[in-house]
Structure formats: C-alpha cells, structure tokens
C-alpha cells in the first residue's frame, strides 16, 4: 500500500499542471524603465500527459488520439504536450524610448490554465 501511495504521489506530481513563475523585472534589469508592477506571477505549464488522459488535464480530442497512437508506437509519435490553454492580460506602466509614460495592457501574459494538446 505504501508503495502504491508513493507511486501515485509521484505520478500526480509529474502530471501536466500549472507551476509558479514570478517574473521579477529587476532580475532581468528592466526595473529602470518599467514603473509598475515590479514583477508579476506569470506561471508556466509542465508535466506529463500520460495515458489515460484524465478530465482535469484539459485535453483535446486530438491529444487523446495522439496519446493512443503514442501508446501503440512511442517511437513514431510523441506524447501530447503540456501547454497553456488559457491566458490572461496584465497592465504595465512604463517609460518608452522618448521618456514618455505609457500604460498598456498586454494580452496572454499570465497562464490561467494548462492542458494536454
């Protein structure tokens, strides 16, 4: 039973899901021209898309078929990929190259959901 639990835990951990990724603008040296925010939680998707594809893995019909073919011939076709399926925008206040203050909304900056595609 302990072995099965460990196995399940490892399997769940490895499945496709959203992970934390805080982008700190000072880390990339952009804090001199980006006024706000100082950084933002962007997230990223990572993990396996194992057979069988569970509902929470947010897979497409194509991903299910690709997983099936992969199970038959792993060398011919890779598994489905764990990718962002839903993204949201953020607002940024920054100084442009003319020293003008600009407020802009950028779409698709934050991962809201991941899935097997």
């Amino acid at each position: 039973a302990n072995g099965r639990k460990k196995h399940q835990r490892r399997k769940l951990k490895a499945n496709c899901r959203r992970h934390s990724l805080y982008v700190d603008f000072s880390d990339v040296g952009w804090n001199d021209w980006i006024v706000a925010p100082p950084g933002y939680q962007a997230y990223y998707c990572h993990g396996e898309c194992p057979f069988p594809l569970a509902d929470h893995l947010n897979s497409t019909n194509h991903a299910i078929v690709q997983t099936l073919v992969n199970s038959v011939n792993p060398l011919a076709v890779p598994k489905a990929c764990c990718v962002p399926t839903d993204l949201s925008p953020i607002s940024m206040l920054y100084l442009n190259e003319n020293d003008q203050v600009v407020l802009k909304n950028y779409q698709d900056m934050v991962v809201e959901g991941c899935g097997c595609r």
Binding site: V28, G29, W30, D32, W33, V35, A36, P37, D86, S88, P89, I90, S91, L93, Y94, L95, N96, E97, N98, D99, Q100, V101, V102, L103, K104, N105, Y106, Q107, D108, V110, E112
Partner: protein, 275 residues
Amino acid sequence: GRADLIPDAGRRNLAKQAAAYSPDKIDKNDDMIRAFESSLLNMFGLNERPRPRKNLVIPPYMLELYHSQTKDPENPSVNFNFAGKSTSTANTVRSFHHEEESEAGQPVWEGDEINRRLWFNTSAVPSVELIKAAELRLFREQIDVDHVQYGDSTDHHLYRVNVYEVMRPNSRTNTDTITRLLDTKLVDVRNSSWESFDVRSAVTKWKNSPERNYGLEVEVVSPKRGALSNHHVRLRRSADMDDHAWQHRRPLLLTYTDDGKGSSNSNRVASRQKR
C-alpha cells in the same frame, strides 16, 4: 548602441541553446538572439530599449489609471475600463506634456483673461494605433471668492474654460489665428481639481497630418472681468513654483489608443469571466 533588452547572462545561455540546436551555424547565433530581442521589443511596442533620464516624474494621474485598471486582479481585461470614460477598445494610454520651449514669445495674460497656447508633440503615437479617445487635463487651484464683491451676482464662483484647436496660427500678432472650439466647461473655482476636456478630434487629425498640429488654445473667462484673478488655472509655471510641484500640476494630454492586439482575445476573456 546595442538594444541589450536581454541581460548578459541570458544572452550567453541563449547562445548555448542555439548552438545545441544548430552547432554548425555558431556564427548565426548572434542573429538569432537579435531576432529574439526584436520580438521582445515588438511585444512591448518599442523600437529600442528605453533609457529613461533620472528623476523623471510619473504623472500621478497615470499611476491612478494603473491602479484603477489593476484593482480587480480576478477579472483582468485586455481593454481599459475606466469609470466615466468611453475608451472603447483602447488598450494603451500615452501621456504628453506640452513643449515649454514653444511658449516663448506667446502672449501671456490678456487683461484679466487667460488665452494660452499649448503645443504637444504627439508624433510618438505609432501609425498602426487607432485613437479611441484623447483628453486634455488642466489643474485648477481653489480661490477664495467670498471676499470678492460681485454685486447681485450669485454665480460668481463659476468660470468658463474653453479649449480650442488652433487651425491656423499667427505667432506675431495673434490676431489672425483661426481656432475651433473643441470643449467647454463651467468650473467652480471654490475647489481645487483637475478638469478634463475632450480633444479627440484634434489629436486624431494631428496623427494623420502632423504638419497641421498647431496646438491647443485654452481660454478662461471670468464671470465679471477684473473682479478676480484668473491665475487659478495652471497653464504655466509660476516663478516661485519648484520643479516637483510643477510636474504635478502642469497640463497633461492623454491619448487612448488601440494597437489591434486585444480584440481577438476578448471572447476568451469574456468566457473566463462568465465561468
């Protein structure tokens, strides 16, 4: 001269990655990094890495707009949703201060009326962006009108502020200047406040024909000439005002534009909000 939007450590790692993918094209790695940097700049709508001057003052109103836009992180929107503003599908706000060099030689006060020209260099608005709204914001300091005698007048605290587009200037005499009224407001001088004027039609014209940008003219009309100073509308820096205070009170032009990158996502955002 290098854009260096990517830090040196990142540049080295990217070069290694590129080499792993195409070891036979090591000499082209720099090109690949430059292409990546170019896509980053394009994403931000920049031509080069900004190198801002030190001690630049951020207009408090821009910070206010930022906080207003980010107050509900659970429901982020690609387009701006500012209360009381019709910005349509705009997703970019740019702020402009007027060129103070162009003030030289202008008539300052004409009797007791303010008639002042403000010129804004709006050429930085990219041609691909559509102007959805534009406003001129003027700061007005409160004045004590209770001690001023106006006879039987009951509305002596109301001043009219007119904003015109200069259609044809005459810098020498100011007599042949042709102007077009863009917006007008009756303001109560008993309270300090910012006043907003709709100048979209003029800014749209300047974007399409920059050579026809002759600026805006602001006129303040008192209810009774000579009764009260009109200097409460902050159109120019006073001699005793320090730079910091001036930066917080000087006229500000705002453009609300749509760069065309937000509309395709609106359905997805609406769907998420519904869910």
